[in-house]
């Protein structure tokens, strides 16, 4: 039973962090229909920001979230103003290839600056601590904190999008840019802010994840893929969709744990020989594929 519970808790916690990763992607897509292939690279930048700020300032990595958010926001706005704005004038293919190029650029810049070596957080208030929830469920404190803070950040962005004038202006820009312009909404600035907020949320996620994952310049791709799967599952452009789909994807990555539960509860020998952990992401992409075929707009999607 402890195996099942551990996997459930781990899946939900990882899913919460993942949903924050996907949030940025869904905001940017929702507002301006751009598929940002460089999304994972922003996460990588967030991870480096968290790690290096913590090391330089000698503070706990969890306290570096504001720095990561600031870096993400500024970088997002700069990317929009200096690059994406011009891509929007081109055809769809230019936008796809453009963000793909941005991904390669950021990744190789990181390689140049930080080198190819893996780096990880080895010290911190919560690093190495764990909490025993009873019934054999033990969770690392860093993951719990990351899940909690991800949920808080997610909630903050949701409030911003749904309960403020600014959020309404963003939604208006997303639904009908021309109409929004007629209403006096500075859509250009809205686009820039969408990039700023989108990138800030993913760099925050990066600074949270670096507490328990190591970082190298290639880490972005895995998260880009996961974020795509989450956004597809939750529905392109849907904020609550990203949250729930994030948790679903987190649970999907725990399929090997559920498999182990069955294996050792019922003592089935052949099941122990199946290398499930080697394929843990396969199920995510399978779900991605199925949702694309069966329900292309996702569970909560409102954009076509």
């Amino acid at each position: 039973m402890d195996i099942l519970l551990s996997s459930l808790v781990a899946g939900i916690m990882f899913g919460m962090a993942l949903s924050l990763v996907a949030l940025g992607l869904t905001i940017i897509f929702g507002v301006m229909d751009i598929v940002n292939f460089a999304h994972g690279e922003f996460l990588m930048i967030g991870m480096y920001t968290g790690l290096l700020t913590a090391q330089a300032a000698g503070v706990d990595p969890l306290l570096t979230l504001p720095a990561a958010a600031l870096v993400g926001f500024v970088l997002g706005v700069l990317c929009y103003a200096g690059f994406v704005k011009y891509l929007l004038r081109g055809p769809m293919i230019a936008q796809l290839l453009g963000t793909f190029g941005l991904m390669l650029f950021l990744r190789n810049m990181a390689l140049l600056i930080f080198g190819a070596n893996d780096r990880a957080v080895h010290q911190g208030l919560l690093v190495g601590k764990s909490i025993d929830l009873g019934m054999g469920v033990i969770i690392p404190a860093t993951k719990l904190a990351a899940a909690g803070l991800a949920a808080v950040s997610f909630g903050a962005v949701w409030l911003l999008m749904n309960r403020t004038k600014f959020g309404k202006a963003l939604t208006a820009t997303a639904l009908n840019p021309q109409g929004a312009r007629y209403m006096g909404i500075p859509t250009e600035r809205m686009n820039a802010l969408a990039w700023g907020i989108g990138c800030a949320s993913v760099t925050i996620a990066g600074a949270l994840i670096v507490n328990f994952w190591s970082v190298n310049p290639y880490i972005g791709l895995l998260f880009t893929m996961l974020a795509f799967a989450i956004v597809a599952l939750g529905g392109f452009g849907s904020v609550p969709g990203a949250f729930f789909a994030g948790i679903v994807v987190g649970l999907i990555t725990e399929i090997p744990g559920f498999w182990d539960f069955l294996t050792y509860t019922f003592d089935i020998d052949w099941m122990a020989d199946v290398p499930m952990t080697s394929f843990k992401y396969m199920w995510v992409y399978l779900a991605y594929f199925l949702i694309m075929v069966v329900r292309p707009r996702g569970l909560f999607g409102w954009k076509h």
């Binding site: 781990a10 893996d118 993951k143 190298n216 880490i219 090997p256 744990g257 952990t277 080697s278």
Partner: protein, 436 residues
């Protein structure tokens, strides 16, 4: 006019002839060895050690050091080649087999190296040795332990280190010894208490082969292998792997990991409070200084197979002297990685000395006939002599392994103590593995 032309032509011919001649004379004084190691990437820490080990051996070979009881320290350079000096050309393969093969081609075709040394990762050694074989360039390997490497019948590949079949067998011998009451300082353990095994190995050439060996030996020695999983050494997170190991409720856990994944694995086991009775690493990451420095006290009780421990110094004065030189340069003691890259290059020096030339054929004949006495080596082996017939070709037949355990001494320093073979132990074994 005609005469001027004639004289000019003659002058050019003379200059050209000299030009061709002079460098040949100069080049003969230098022997180029291409050294391919992982200097960046997940195994960069090990790469730095390997590099420092090879550089130290080259320095000893190139300079006469009277106080060192080693044949290669007696002369400056290779005596049989008129004191020719060894130059090492380092390349970084980043743990990538394709890149390794490309670098090998560059070293052979562009740098015109006389031989190769490397590459640590068995997967990279596999592709690099295939390139060396294709071009007929001799390659000596000091630290890749996948057994298959010397089972390919290659004519230009020699391996000095013992391989994983021997090492994995050592582990099972240790477990058997535990159940027979042979382990020093440990009362006889019932076999039932250590019956259940689980392994997690990285999934390239080296780790996946170790995984297969664990399966083979579990059957042979009558243990119950509950789980054996493979993972990517670049994996930034191993929590689902660790939960799977935990779910198997294994008494003995075995790992084949490189540096960053070994650290991550132990951190995750600690975070999940997984409590096996024996925790054993197949060298590599488990032995790097980074592993010890990063994890601190939590590694006390972890076993790792190795070929060299600082404790060897107590029984081998020569190793002590070399270790001192190494420590002056790097601040670290010799490890399995650096001691073996040192020995790899040392073997190159002996082979070149015997061959008396860099002609590949002569080097090949010398390598096949070489016999280096154990007293020359820093590693505790009987010597170096390569097999030339049978299933394995080019494998050193005189190597042997050790199993070390991290223990804390009276002054609070953590280091490896020898716990196997049982007749050369340096401390009592800690059993079972302490609580995290």
């Amino acid at each position: 006019m005609k005469r001027t032309l004639k004289w000019t032509t003659a002058a050019i011919v003379v200059v050209l002839a000299f030009g061709l001649l002079v460098p040949t004379v100069v080049w003969a004084k230098e022997i180029k060895i291409g050294v391919i190691y992982p200097l960046t990437g997940g195994a960069a820490a090990a790469g730095r050690e390997l590099r420092a080990g090879a550089e130290l051996a080259a320095d000893i070979a190139n300079n006469a050091m009277a106080d060192l009881e080693m044949a290669m320290a007696k002369n400056a350079g290779i005596k049989s080649m008129g004191g020719a000096k060894i130059t090492l050309i380092f390349k970084d393969h980043e743990g990538n087999p394709t890149l390794g093969a490309d670098l090998a081609k560059k070293l052979i075709l562009d740098d015109k190296v006389d031989g190769l040394l490397g590459c640590y990762h068995s997967s990279v050694t596999k592709t690099v040795s295939a390139v060396a074989e294709q071009y007929g360039v001799p390659m000596i390997n000091g630290s890749s332990t996948s057994p298959g490497l010397t089972e390919r019948g290659f004519k230009w590949f020699w391996r000095t280190t013992p391989h994983d079949r021997w090492f994995t067998k050592d582990l099972f011998e240790l477990l058997k010894g535990l159940s027979e009451g042979k382990a020093r300082g440990v009362a006889k353990v019932s076999k039932q208490d250590i019956m259940k095994l689980a392994s997690a190995c990285e999934k390239t050439e080296w780790g996946s082969f170790t995984s297969t060996l664990v399966e083979e030996f579990s059957k042979e020695y009558g243990f119950d292998l509950r789980k054996s999983l493979l993972y990517a050494k670049e994996a930034p997170d191993l929590s689902s792997e660790v939960r799977s190991l935990k779910a198997s409720r294994a008494d003995v856990m075995l790992f084949a990991s490189y540096t960053s994944d070994a650290i991550l694995m132990i951190k995750t086991l600690d975070a999940q409070k997984v409590q096996p009775k024996v925790l054993w690493g197949q060298d590599a990451g488990f032995e790097t200084p980074e592993f010890q420095q990063t994890l601190g006290d939590s590694i006390v009780g972890i076993l790792t197979r190795t070929v060299f421990l600082p404790k060897v110094v107590e029984v081998k004065p020569l190793a002590g002297k070399v270790n001192k030189m190494y420590k002056e340069r790097t601040g670290n003691d010799l490890s399995g990685a650096s001691a073996r890259s040192f020995t790899g290059l040392q073997t190159w020096v002996h082979v070149l000395e015997k061959a008396g030339s860099t002609d590949p054929k002569a080097v090949q004949a010398a390598a096949n006939a070489i016999e280096i006495s154990g007293s020359e080596l820093v590693v505790p082996w009987a010597g170096i002599k390569f097999s030339t017939s049978g299933k394995e070709i080019g494998q050193n037949e005189l190597g042997s392994g050790l199993i070390g355990q991290y223990q804390k001494d009276a002054s609070g320093n953590i280091g490896l103590e020898i716990v196997y073979p049982f007749d050369v132990t340096t401390a009592d074994m800690i059993y079972p593995f302490p609580k995290w």
